[in-house]
């Protein structure tokens, strides 16, 4: 049990510390693909350090919620990062929440972010909050459908069971999972405010979704939110890995498999990050009202995955 707790702590800390690195890697790949020289991979850490050293500027009419929200958002993302198995499976935290509760944790962070955005009362904050809600209320059901597809195969909504079923039992190919994987990719793009749904690099305040919500944040608050954004991307990547390419994650109690599991995870994240950067480079941002079509397609694919499971795999 104590090794389990140690492992759990190590895994969560690793996720928190390494999440900005994934962000840096994606940014680097994007720069290369666009034909410009890339910032160093550690650039996100430098940004965080810079932000933590600054004095916070807070609007006069900000309520305590505005100050409190960044900590809440960061905590939610750190918790989510602890639940999703990245290196070792079935750690002590895992039974705390199944995939449905995980969706709830993401939703909790989002509610706080949207409330904080509207708290100041600027036009851009509410604009961003409104758009974020539009995107997320379409993305959430689709995400649940993806999880259900995987749960039907594993006969459980617990992530460790799903991972164990897919990774450690006999090798089988599930057509339903393929559909779910494509749907999951589309949802992740929308939830992480990436192109083609949102543009994390824009300075055009009227086009922003996520960025518009955090325009009023500065210094340590902004640092926590930026870090949470990196953590969210990391957690979604880890989720994708756990659901669709779980091979390499160490089974419960299998300490010898840990080094290999770590290597496998790094390799998968590098590949996934590069793929994200590639898809972002070749696509342009959708008109805002095309985002529902995009997410509708994701929902449809997830439902198709479920149907295929019943048609072919039961």
């Amino acid at each position: 049990m104590s090794t389990g707790i140690l492992l759990q702590l190590a895994q969560t800390l690793l996720a928190i510390l390494l999440a900005p690195l994934l962000m840096g890697w994606v940014n680097q790949c994007r720069a290369w693909l666009q034909g410009r020289s890339a910032p160093p991979i550690t650039q996100p850490y430098r940004t965080l350090k810079k932000l933590f050293h600054k004095d916070a500027v807070i609007a006069h009419n900000a309520s305590p919620l505005f100050r409190f929200a960044p900590y809440m958002i960061f905590a939610c993302m750190a918790l989510a990062a602890g639940i999703v198995p990245t290196i070792a499976n079935d750690l002590p935290f895992s039974p705390a929440a199944d995939v449905i509760a995980l969706v709830g944790i993401f939703a909790l962070a989002r509610v706080f972010l949207a409330l904080a955005a509207m708290d100041i009362g600027t036009a851009f904050g509410s604009l961003g909050a409104r758009r974020e809600m539009l995107v997320s209320f379409l993305a959430e059901p689709a995400l649940l459908m993806v999880f259900f597809t995987a749960s039907f195969i594993a006969q459980s909504t617990e992530l460790p069971v799903i991972v164990a079923t897919l990774a450690h039992r006999e090798f089988a190919i599930y057509p339903s999972i393929t559909f779910a994987a494509v749907a999951f990719w589309m949802i992740s793009v929308a939830e992480n405010a990436r192109i083609p749904v949102d543009n994390p690099g824009t300075h055009l305040e009227l086009t922003m979704i996520h960025e518009a919500m955090i325009l009023e944040y500065s210094a340590r608050h902004l640092a926590l939110i930026e870090w949470a954004v990196a953590l969210k991307l990391f957690t979604y990547s880890a989720l994708g890995i756990a659901l669709f390419v779980p091979w390499g994650i160490a089974a419960q109690g299998d300490l010898a498999a840990l080094p290999l599991a770590l290597l496998a995870m790094v390799a998968k994240l590098l590949l996934g990050g590069a793929a994200l950067a590639f898809l972002e480079t070749i696509s342009a941002k959708l008109r805002l009202f095309r985002a529902p079509e995009f997410l509708g397609t994701a929902f449809l694919l997830a439902v198709l995955g479920m149907l295929i499971h019943f048609l072919l795999e039961v």
Binding site: G35, N199, L204, E205, L206, T207, T281, L286, L288, F289
Partner: protein
């Protein structure tokens, strides 16, 4: 010269440029006839003529079927007023308001008499462009009451953007009235970069004036500098060597290509296609670096001077320029193929920010944006000054009037400019590049008219008997085109505004004189 039924007694001032004076009351009749035959009001400005034994003056530049007509009316020294032209040419509205702010000349019966340039920076009863203005007066810090037009109704709310933006861009205020994401009305407020440019011209010598004219709007340097020099050369009846005129055209086309490349990159960036942004800006940067190497400045600052040009082109420079022009042509062709085949980008560009041709004609849309809405005016093609009269410029037009059409016009114009550059390089005449201006004997005036990359640039100059500048009015095409941005945005959604705005890419500094 006859316009409509009447002879308005206009005298030729330069090639395709006419000059006339009339009673203020006749301005209305003239404007109506110009409008009738499909012409436009290009510029409207005022002047303080009291030191020349007059009162004030109101000036209008009208585009007619036989060229540009510059007409002036003398106004009384006390309570100067002229008839409102905005009900014939809506584009006159902001120019009339600016004229009042600077000179206290009123357009009688004008519907809109809100301040445009003042922004409470000087007392309301003081007019800085009058000759008796006392610049030592302390600045005021009033706030003008500036009522925006409100849209009422259930669920309608306002989004106020600017003048300070999230990025490093010029200041302008945009007031959106929206329902959900749909824009019901957009109203602009500008004048934040008012810097007293016209006042600064007063008393300047002619050579320094060229430098200031070029800096009215930095991205249109060559067009302004050329228009100013054309005006000064007309005023002093000085001739310019042929080689200098050809080099000026070369500078103008270089400037056009640099700006169009930059804009096409920005259009890609605004739909988050950073690849396009980086590629077009690589081309632009190489182009600017070559320009810096050949002519000493990336944006050709101060290359055009009164009497000719300051920088010559060597034979090796000619070859380098031709080589780079060929390279740009190939690269732009392949980038255009990428833009053309990118489904999301096309979806964003097409049917976004539409300015229909009839509306564009009614409101006086001009220049590049005008040509994308079937307003087929290009001074280089219809009323060519030397050397364009020997180059046979082909104008590019579109009818759709959306973002895509404005991008298409830019692509076509890049190709045409590259062709012109090759032509200019091949036929560049030999000889001097500069002759001194003739000395000024008496008060004289001139007008320069150049098709810059954004649209036609106009500079009107009056030189005093002492040989120094007395009144200079530089006119930017953005004056006419800003109101069309308000129209183009209607019915579109808020997040498409930056894209529509960029497809016009209008100047703030140019009109905020």
């Amino acid at each position: 010269m006859k316009i409509g039924e009447h002879d308005w007694h206009l005298e030729p001032l330069g090639k395709h440029i006419w000059r006339g004076r009339m009673e203020a009351g006749q301005l209305l009749a003239l404007s109506r006839e110009v409008k009738e035959e499909g012409g436009q009001l290009i510029a409207l400005w005022g002047s303080d003529d009291r030191h020349l034994a007059g009162g004030f003056g109101i000036h209008a530049a009208l585009l007619t079927s036989s060229g540009l007509a510059w007409v002036s009316s003398a106004l009384a020294a006390n309570a100067p007023a002229y008839p409102d032209l905005a009900h014939i040419f809506p584009q006159a509205d902001r120019m009339q308001r600016a004229t009042f702010d600077l000179l206290g000349i009123t357009a009688s019966d004008a519907v809109d008499d809100r301040k445009w340039l003042r922004h409470g920076a000087w007392p309301a009863n003081v007019f800085p462009l009058r000759k008796d203005f006392d610049a030592s007066l302390p600045a005021t810090h009033d706030t003008d009451a500036y009522p925006f037009i409100r849209v009422e109704g259930d669920g309608v709310h306002e989004i106020a953007v600017g003048p300070i933006h999230a990025g490093t861009i010029e200041p302008g205020h945009f007031r959106f009235s929206v329902i959900g994401e749909r824009v019901l009305r957009l109203e602009q407020r500008q004048g934040y970069t008012h810097k007293g440019t016209e006042k600064r011209f007063e008393g300047m010598d002619l050579a320094t004036g060229a430098k200031l004219a070029g800096r009215v709007s930095g991205d249109t340097h060559s067009a302004y500098a050329w228009a100013y020099c054309m005006a000064v050369e007309t005023a002093t009846a000085s001739a310019v060597p042929e080689r200098a005129v050809w080099l000026r055209a070369l500078f103008l086309e270089i400037e056009r290509i640099a700006n169009h490349l930059g804009d096409l990159g920005y259009l890609g960036n605004d739909v988050a296609l950073s690849f396009g942004f980086m590629q077009f800006w690589r081309l632009k940067e190489n182009w600017l670096r070559l320009t810096a190497k050949l002519f000493g400045h990336r944006y050709l600052f101060d290359c055009i001077v009164p009497g000719g040009v300051a920088m010559d082109l060597s034979d090796s420079g000619r070859a380098k320029l031709a080589l780079e022009a060929n390279r740009i042509e190939t690269e732009v062709r392949s980038l255009k193929a990428i833009y053309d085949e990118h489904a999301t980008l096309q979806d964003r560009f097409a049917n976004t920010g539409v300015c229909k041709p009839d509306l564009a004609a009614r409101l006086g849309l001009t220049g590049l944006a005008g040509r994308a809405s079937a307003q087929a005016w290009d001074a280089r093609a219809q009323f060519p000054q030397a050397p364009y009269d020997q180059l046979d410029v082909s104008m590019s037009t579109q009818r759709r009037g959306d973002v895509l059409a404005r991008a298409e016009v830019r692509f076509t114009e890049i190709n045409e400019s590259l062709r012109l550059i090759r032509d200019l390089l091949a036929r560049l005449p030999a000889g001097d590049i500069h002759t001194p201006l003739k000395p000024v004997q008496d008060v004289c005036e001139g007008l320069g008219w150049v098709e810059g990359w954004r649209g036609e640039v106009l500079v009107a100059v009056r030189i005093g008997a002492d040989g120094r500048l007395d009144r200079v009015h530089p006119h930017d095409p953005s004056w006419q085109n800003w109101p069309l941005l308000e129209v183009g945005q209607l019915g579109n959604i808020v997040p498409d505004f930056p894209l529509i705005n960029k497809s016009f890419n209008l100047s703030y500094s140019g009109p905020d004189l």
